[in-house]
């Protein structure tokens, strides 16, 4: 061990020397070392030889110490005294090691500048040396561990020294060093530092804090009660006099002198609980009442045992030799010895259990010894029972319960809100009589409250120290410091000094200062505890209250923006305790204000800019509001304690490169909201080629079938529309209906479904809308491909989604148009279950039979066990359910289109007479009303269309309304192996975004709109009709002439369009006929 160290240490010494030089130049060492130590350090650091001596000397000493023997007698004297130099060396080493810590645990935060400096130094060294450093530091670590007894002291010492520097400066005469000026700069900082952040806090005190707080509140309640009631009415029974018979005499004395004291019952009881000898062997933190109960039980037991006159037969269990049949008669034997044993093992939960056991002894005795005359034992038993009766009176009837339970119950009882408590609390604290209780609390707490009383003098006493460096900074510090003091005072010590006026203040101060030096670290923690007691009590009682509730009723643990902001600011500002303190005590509003003021560049300017704005906007006002505000502030019960605001924390993510979050996370202003976004990418799974549904095999066939199915639905809808005489205006809605299937299909892939849904309403011609839909998707795909995809994470959600996608496809294939998401998820769960059991079966077969069976056999067996009796079934499935199904679908499609054509062309004219058409509100649209009055409304005659098209009516031919779809149906239908159209159909219309701007003029689009408007429109039609019929011919004609002009102009465009379409239709019709003829010929 020693040799090894000798080998390594030189390098380490070098490195440490360099670091030490750096620390020296930066004056950083003053944060770690006492003045005297820093003197030694400075001496040592002047040259390397001295340094190595300084360091290795302690090393030698350490090893000697570690060996723990008298081998080096020369050093022994040293070890006993522990010279200053050695202590300094320890601490210097600790300091240097501390500097290296950031090297071992990287922190990428911009604020940690120190480590960067060291970093630079280490970068300057050559790599091999660096390696050695690492080795050396490891070794150092090891050596430190080896010298555990010596090093254990270090942390404590460090914290002490951190604070003792200034404390010593203030009170005792500072050593005449050149470092004092430096120290002076630091001291106020350090002092303001005291109560807060640089302590490690644990939660274990919270329970105590809660209980204390509750006591306080209870006490206040009592206080109020005492004000109302006459305290003398209370009897001693409140104090549980009977139960505490260890304090019998004290209680009696108190009772006698009751009138003399002013104390209320509750206070007395509190006092008594304090006075009572604590921590007996029965005491248990978690078992309430155990101490009390067992104390008295033990006493009872002892008394009974000592009642030798009668107790002897019951001391031990009955000997079988004496009474051979005893255990036949007595099923539950019991004796005092056993009771003692049980008591020691803490088996008893209540007085009753204990008493039951005791009585059982006598009961057993009486049961076994039935002869009242002959048996001595009966007498003994009866006597013992009497004695027990007597003694048990004194045992308090306490049920031992778990602390948690009890407190929860208590909490429930205290139904009144915290606010009222708090106000009363504040009010009563001012009352002089109460201070005694405060003083009586604990001696430790006394310390805590005393210290701040002494300290306010510091900044005033040495004001000259402050402005040494930067005026504003110092001012700022002072203010902060002052705040701290005031608030501390406000919390705990206001009335304290008054009531304890007996003690000389100076003397006390001196004592305290001595104490400060001794245990500053503990003190710090005490102060922290004191400051935050209320908050912690509130938090923990809240937590407990929550834990009472069933899980469903608990309030959700939620992240809130402000808290997170605060947390992150604290993280960022962890170097300046001042800011942190402000952050902790600030209310939410002020935080918001602060954020608003200085939200640009929070991290960069955290120290300078934000502090200033904080000061200006918030703190200064606070100060102006004087003490009261401060007291309010510090005693607020909703301090922000980062230890408790766990949910606000944002774990530091180191390994994510900078550019990916920029892409994946949108709107990352300050990295607060982005956390939720991370891991959830809104990129649809569709875009990952690896998980895409393959476009070969059955999937392709299924896709084809789906395509046909959709076409079928469309044609079917149109057929229905024609047949049921759906008005033209309603066609829009009916046409969107087949789109539902697409929505259903796209349901699983979330963003796509939006597209599908939004594309559907445009469905003027549903055919192209789907085309557009697809091309749109393709476009999007392409655009996405250009970007980089976030890497696919196949987690449970993703795979669920994928499974759902497949299931959706199959569902649609089976003929469903949409499904509820719950049904979908159930189905996909079933599918998942099936596949996983398939996999499991395969696994089982594989594990057991892989030597005996071929792969095919294993596979067949697996399939059989999962319901596929033979491979043939799978083939059948493909053949019957996909291929044949497809044929059948095509068949239907063909039939549907043909019957649709027939509906449009021939038979419907009969079916849909003029009258029926006239009933609808389409009369105007189709111009049918004009026919009624023998007028060519659209001017078909003028255009010569009637001859051209052989129209027998002057309305727009019926087929034209629906005809457009027919074109599509034929174009896509199975019969479409005709020659390509000479004139391609007109390009699709420009998509219109909203329905309102749709040019068609009964502007009824949505269903509700239709409902609302249909009525009046129809009425209007009716009226129009009537009036027109009544009107004389001349007027009508005049009107018509006018209208004609207008309409013709307006409609010229439309008619032209229609004409074109008509031509197309004609061509198509002819082609159709030809095709049919051909088909017939073929058949023949």
């Amino acid at each position: 061990m020693e040799r090894k160290k000798c080998q390594v240490l030189p390098a380490l010494t070098k490195v440490s020397f360099i670091i030490a030089r750096h620390l020296d130049s930066e004056n950083l060492y003053t944060q770690f070392l006492t003045p005297s130590e820093s003197q030694i350090f400075k001496d040592a650091v002047t040259n390397f030889d001295k340094w190595s001596l300084f360091i290795t000397a302690t090393d030698r000493f350490d090893t000697a110490k570690a060996n723990g023997d008298d081998e080096l007698p020369g050093n022994e004297s040293q070890s006993s005294t522990m010279s200053d130099e050695q202590v300094a060396a320890f601490r210097v080493r600790a300091m240097i090691f501390d500097q290296l810590v950031p090297q071992l645990y990287k922190c990428s935060k911009p604020c940690c500048k120190h480590s960067n400096a060291i970093d630079d130094i280490l970068q300057g060294l050559s790599t091999d040396k660096y390696d050695k450093i690492i080795e050396g530091s490891g070794d150092l670590d090891a050596s430190i561990q080896n010298q555990a007894p010596a090093i254990v002291l270090q942390p404590a010492m460090k914290t002490i020294s951190q604070n003792t520097t200034d404390a010593a400066d203030d009170e005792t005469a500072p050593p005449a060093d050149e470092s004092t000026s430096d120290d002076a700069l630091i001291s106020p900082l350090e002092l303001s530092n005291v109560p807060l952040m640089n302590v490690y806090h644990t939660f274990e005190n919270d329970l105590a804090a809660m209980v204390e707080q509750r006591k306080l509140e209870e006490y206040e309640a009592q206080e109020e009660m005492n004000d109302k009631d006459n305290p003398s009415d209370k009897t001693i029974s409140i104090l549980n006099a009977n139960s505490n018979f260890s304090l019998k005499y004290l209680l009696e004395a108190i009772e006698q002198n009751r009138a003399v004291t002013k104390l209320g019952d509750r206070e007395l009881r509190n006092l008594l609980t304090d006075v009572r000898p604590h921590r007996s062997k029965w005491a248990n933190e978690d078992k309430l009442g155990q101490e009390e109960l067992y104390e008295s039980c033990e006493k009872v037991l002892m008394d009974l045992k000592n009642y030798t006159e009668h107790s002897t037969p019951f001391l031990n269990k009955v000997n079988k030799r004496e009474a051979p049949d005893y255990y036949d008669v007595i099923k539950k034997p019991m004796d005092l010895g056993l009771v003692t044993k049980k008591l020691k093992a803490c088996h008893y939960k209540s007085k009753k259990e204990f008493a039951d056991d005791l009585y059982l002894i006598y009961e057993n005795c009486l049961v076994y010894n039935t002869n009242p005359q002959a048996s001595e034992y009966r007498k003994h038993a009866i006597a013992m029972r009497k004695k027990t009766d007597k003694l048990l009176v004194h045992v308090p009837d306490v049920n031992i319960r778990d602390r948690a339970d009890v407190e929860a119950e208590d909490e429930a009882e205290e139904s009144d809100g915290h606010e009222t408590d708090e106000s009363s609390h504040k009010a009563s604290r001012k009352a002089p009589g109460t201070s005694k209780h405060l003083a009586n609390n604990t001696s430790v707490e006394k310390n805590g409250s005393d210290v701040p009383v002494s300290t306010p003098s510091d900044p005033t006493r040495e004001p000259s120290l402050a402005p040494s460096n930067d005026g504003s900074q110092a001012d700022h510090d002072m203010e902060g410091h002052g705040n701290g003091q005031v608030s501390l005072k406000g919390l705990s010590g206001v009335s304290h000094t008054e009531s304890n006026g007996v003690i000389d203040r100076d003397e006390e101060e001196r004592n305290i200062n001595a104490e400060i030096e001794a245990n500053m670290g503990i003190l710090q923690e005490e102060i922290w505890r004191d400051l935050t007691k209320k908050t912690r009590a509130k938090v923990s009682s809240d937590a407990q209250k929550q834990s009472e509730l069933p899980f469903g009723d608990r309030t959700v643990i939620q992240r809130s923006f402000i808290e997170m902001k605060r947390f992150s600011m604290m993280e960022q500002a962890h170097e300046s305790p001042e800011t942190i303190r402000k952050l902790i005590t600030a209310s939410n509003d002020s935080i918001i204000r602060w954020i608003e003021q200085g939200n640009n560049g929070l991290y960069e300017d955290c120290d300078s800019d934000d502090d200033d704005s904080f000061d200006d906007g918030f703190l200064s006002r606070r100060i102006a509001n004087s003490n009261k505000a401060q007291v309010d502030d510090s005693s607020r019960s909703d301090l922000f304690l980062p230890e408790y605001a766990v949910t606000s924390g944002i774990p530091e993510i180191i390994d994510i490169p900078e550019d990916i979050p920029d892409k994946g996370r949108r709107g990352s202003i300050d990295g607060l909201e982005t956390e939720q976004d991370y891991g959830y990418s809104d990129v649809s799974l569709d875009r990952y080629s690896t998980v895409a549904i393959p476009n070969h095999g059955t999937s392709e066939m299924i896709d084809d079938n789906l395509q046909t199915l959709r076409q079928i639905r469309r044609v079917y809808a149109k057929c229905l529309a024609v047949r049921n005489d759906v008005p033209i205006t309603a066609m829009n809605t009916s046409q969107t209906y087949p789109e539902a299937s697409q929505v259903g299909e796209a349901d699983a892939a979330s963003p796509r479904s939006n597209d599908g849904a939004s594309a559907a309403p445009y469905g003027d011609g549903s055919e192209w809308s789907s085309q557009v839909d697809e091309s749109f998707i393709r476009e999007r795909k392409a655009s996405v491909d250009q970007q980089e995809l976030v890497p696919l994470i196949l987690n449970q959600d993703a795979s669920q989604e994928l499974m759902q996608r497949t299931v959706v496809k199959l569902i649609e294939h089976a003929g469903f148009e949409a499904s509820q998401s719950s049904a979908l998820s159930v189905l996909s769960d079933v599918a998942t279950n099936y596949f996983s059991s398939l996999g499991k079966t395969l696994r089982v077969y594989w594990d057991t039979y892989c030597n005996k069976m071929s792969d095919e056999e294993i596979l067949t067996h697996t399939l059989y066990d999962n319901g596929v009796i033979s491979i043939q079934e799978l083939e059948d499935y493909i053949h019957d359910d996909i291929e044949k199904y497809g044929h059948r679908l095509n068949d239907i499609h063909r039939k549907l289109t043909s019957s649709y054509n027939e509906l449009i062309n021939g038979s419907t004219d009969v079916q849909l007479g003029d009258d029926s058409l006239f009933q609808t509100d389409d009369a105007f649209v189709s111009g049918a009303f004009g026919e009624d009055i023998g007028e060519d409304f659209f001017g078909f005659k003028d255009l010569g269309l009637d001859k051209e098209l052989n129209m027998d009516r002057l309305s727009v031919p019926f087929k034209l309304w629906y005809g457009k779809d027919k074109v599509k149906a034929q174009a896509t239908g199975p019969k479409s192996n005709e020659p390509v159209l000479e004139h391609p159909p007109p390009p699709p219309f420009v998509r219109i975004r909203t329905r309102r701007t749709r040019p068609r003029y009964p502007p009824i689009s949505s269903k509700t709109g239709a409902l609302n408007r249909k009525r009046p429109l129809k009425d209007a039609n009716g009226e129009n009709k009537k009036t027109k019929k009544k009107k004389p011919m001349e007027i009508l004609q005049a009107e018509r002439a006018e209208k004609k002009k207008l309409k013709e102009e307006a409609k010229a465009q439309k008619v032209a369009e229609r004409e074109q379409k008509k031509k197309l239709k004609e061509e198509l019709k002819e082609r159709d006929r030809l095709a049919k003829l051909e088909a017939k010929r073929e058949k023949v």
Partner: protein, 318 residues
Amino acid sequence: MANTDKKTRYKFQSEIQQMMFVFGEVSDPLPETTMLVEDIVRSQVIEIIIQAAAMAAKRNSRSMNAEDLIFLMRHDRAKVNRLRSFLSWKDVRKNAKETGGDQVEDMMEDSAAAEKPGKMHRSIIKLSWELVNQFSDVFVKSSKDEDSEDEDEIEAYNDSIQRLKDADEITRAMTREEYVHYSECRQASFTYRKSKRFRDWAYMSSFIDVKPNDDIIDSLGFLTFEMVSSLTEGAIQIKTDLATLHKDESAAAGKKRKRESGDEEGDETTMGLFSLSKNDQTPLEPLHIQEAFRRLQLVPQPLNTFRRGLVRTKISLI
């Protein structure tokens, strides 16, 4: 006593015997076997009736129709097809009767001659759960509708042709008397002209309130025929399997003589002067039927794999 009891319980012994003979069993099978078959068939019929009645109840109708029956066996496409074509032919026959032509009777009887179907207009039951029929309401009945033939029908037709061919194969070497007997047996039915007996036999009245119509009874008869067929064929298969297993000792001969069945193994084994003919076939024993039934019942339940607890067992319909 026992005899009369048996008589009351088993009413279709002769029919079963005939059917089994058609499917390859000896002409006089063991009475235990036929009784077992009858028990099985009856339990199956009862099960079918119960389930179909439940189905009808789900449709909110008191009387069941053919669709309810078909729905129960919708997974067995071939059977569904057969049943459908059976029903459609029955429909044809009924229509023809109403119009009063003997020609149809002839056609039915000569069906072995494989007359081309589809000459008469047949109404085929539309299965409402098939997607295809969802859209059929708008079809315009046009005379030029050339595609009357469904693929299913074609399949059913091919299937029946195959069966007839097999039967033809069997009967080819028969003597005249044998052939007469065979064709008589082929017409054996549980329900033909004895629907009352059938209803009583299956305790139908206790499962359905409304008296089922002829269609139902006839389809049930058809199904019982199929049941006997699958049972017998399965049992024969099992028997031959067993025989090949114990080939050495299986020389023990049955005394019953089987008529002619072309599918006996060759006679390479030694053939003494007094040794029994290879064509001799032993009748099926109940254990064969039981095994066949067991196999038919053995349906793997995929979703219960790895999580099979106490699951209610169901009779799977043959």
